[in-house]
């Protein structure tokens, strides 16, 4: 059967990149992207950084503008929510009762911020950051002297804390965990990032729970901690993780388990439907077929590209090494691979004072690398990524010797 119509649900990074890849890959049929937000697809990484920091409100970093949609003949429908897939008839049904038929469907529905479930937390006074609209609201509330409480010491929380400090706010960051960046970032790097925040004037309250939140609109807020401390503040932002958006997949009978379940070719339990980006759970061959779900810019882009090729008959397996970065103040932090699989960590002094950690498994294979430093960190992490891809086993001595170029180990 020829594939004449492809529908993409979700107009974020993955949805937009898949559409572009379909066209650039030579697909001539109809491409329709349907997005929930009332905007053209845009890049999310700047939302916690430049969008909060620039003196003038920056426009969104659009991936697919009007002109490109025209040039690529991509039919973009925004502000529309898909509620059901009638898989037998191969069509997507929308909230307004309309529907759209497909030959192949890509779900790129992304994720939503996890919400706090505390006494008093269910109010617009508690902010989350996921969309450009969220960023504009947060931006309007950050100004010099404002007291900001950030809940959650993950990437979003830390990037918001850094941006708020740079705007002149007083910032306190809370986390239930004993240290920041508990998930997927080695303690050495988390420690250095925490020091950088302290140096910038961020206060930390770690290993402390929250009892209650009081956040009336337009009035002083208060966060009551489990140790009885009451933090008075003007702004509360929570960054406590994300939950994959699987409502549509579940409602349509697709297999869902911490994300829409796909195989290594990103195909769901229905062979005509694929999924890519934050919403999907996929097996990774490089790590013994272990299932994972990644919330990262590059994963969204790379999966979108593989999904696009497979939607039109390809059989490519997705095997990119997980990689993410976070910029805070003048520092960048990067992690490639899965540090949790490592049992030996080798330290390496990198370029320009960068600090690198290479994580090896029991057999000495590199399974991850992480680092903190300036922009030049990217070059070294990229080489380490290639070593991970090749399942390289250089000796600890080679890895720790700064006189040995990393590139020579490739």
């Amino acid at each position: 059967m020829t594939i004449e119509s492809i529908v993409i649900v979700g107009a974020g990074e993955a949805g937009a990149r898949a559409a572009i890849e379909l066209r650039e890959g030579g697909f001539n049929g109809e491409i329709t992207i349907v997005g929930r937000e009332n905007m053209h697809p845009y890049e999310r990484p700047p939302l916690s950084k430049t969008v909060l920091l620039m003196p003038q409100t920056p426009a969104p970093a659009t991936i697919l503008d009007e002109q490109k949609c025209g040039a690529y003949q991509i039919n973009l429908i925004t502000g529309k929510e898909a509620i059901k897939i009638e898989r037998g008839q191969k069509r997507v049904v929308f909230e307004d009762g309309s529907s759209k038929g497909y030959d192949r469907l890509l779900l790129a529905t992304g994720a939503n911020p996890r919400r706090l479930m505390l006494e008093g937390s269910d109010t617009s006074g508690v902010m989350y950051l996921r969309t450009y609209a969220d960023a504009l609201v947060l931006r309007s509330r950050l100004s010099a002297g404002k007291r900001v409480v950030v809940i959650g010491g993950g990437f979003i929380g830390l990037e918001v804390a850094a941006s708020a400090r740079e705007t002149g706010c007083e910032v306190t960051l809370l986390d239930l965990a004993p240290r920041i960046l508990m998930r997927g970032v080695p303690a050495q790097i988390a420690g250095q990032m925490e020091s950088r925040h302290r140096e910038a004037g961020v206060q930390f309250k770690l290993g402390t729970g929250i009892e209650q939140i009081h956040a009336p609109a337009g009035r002083e807020h208060a966060v009551t901690l489990s140790d009885g401390t009451i933090l008075k503040c003007d702004v509360i932002v929570a960054g406590i993780g994300a939950i994959p958006e699987t409502t549509l997949a579940s409602a349509s009978g697709l297999v869902v388990d911490n994300g829409i379940v796909v195989d290594d070719q990103l195909r769901t339990s229905d062979p005509h439907i694929y999924a890519a980006g934050d919403c999907c759970s996929f097996p990774h061959h490089l790590f013994g077929g272990q299932r994972m779900r990644l919330e990262a810019w590059r994963n969204a882009v790379d999966q979108a590209i593989v999904a696009a090729r497979n939607l039109v008959g390809g059989t490519e397996s997705y095997a990119a090494v997980p990689w993410f970065w976070s910029d805070q103040y003048d520092k960048t932090l990067q992690v490639v691979g899965l540090p949790d699989l490592g049992c030996v960590t080798v330290e390496r002094s990198g370029l320009n004072g960068n600090q690198l950690y290479v994580h090896l498994d029991e057999e000495g294979t590199i399974v991850a690398a992480s680092g903190i430093g300036d922009g030049s960190l990217g070059k070294e992490i990229r080489i380490l990524e290639k070593l991970i891809e090749r399942r390289a086993k250089p000796s600890s001595e080679q890895l720790s010797d700064p006189a040995i170029r990393l590139k020579s180990l490739l």
Partner: protein, 105 residues
């Protein structure tokens, strides 16, 4: 009149298949030495976002942006992989007496 040649560095200051950053006045360039020992120069910033290309990895004739992995052929400036779409400007380079020179037009 043609712009003068500007000295960048000793040719050995750039390793083979690598890149360095070169600031001249308000201009930032990336200066490359290929795996075939030829020298090139382009804009110092990625055309997608303001990221230093000198922090990226050189593989053959390709420079890869360290942030979003956009790729360019640094010998021609041509964009090779999204999200990079716009070409890099390239600059003439010459090597004489073991020194690398660039002309900023």
């Amino acid at each position: 009149m043609q712009e003068p040649w500007i000295e960048v560095c000793d040719s050995n200051d750039i390793e083979e298949e690598d890149v360095i950053r070169f600031d001249y006045g308000s201009v930032t360039l990336a200066v490359y030495r290929s795996d075939k020992n030829a020298f090139y120069a382009t804009n110092g910033y990625c055309t997608h976002e303001r990221v230093h290309l000198s922090d990226g990895l050189v593989m053959g004739n390709i420079i890869e942006c360290p942030k979003h992995n956009g790729r360019f052929d640094y010998t021609t400036g041509q964009a090779k992989k999204t999200p990079a779409c716009d070409a890099l400007q390239t600059y003439p380079v010459k090597v004489t007496g073991g020194k690398v020179y660039v002309r900023i037009e």
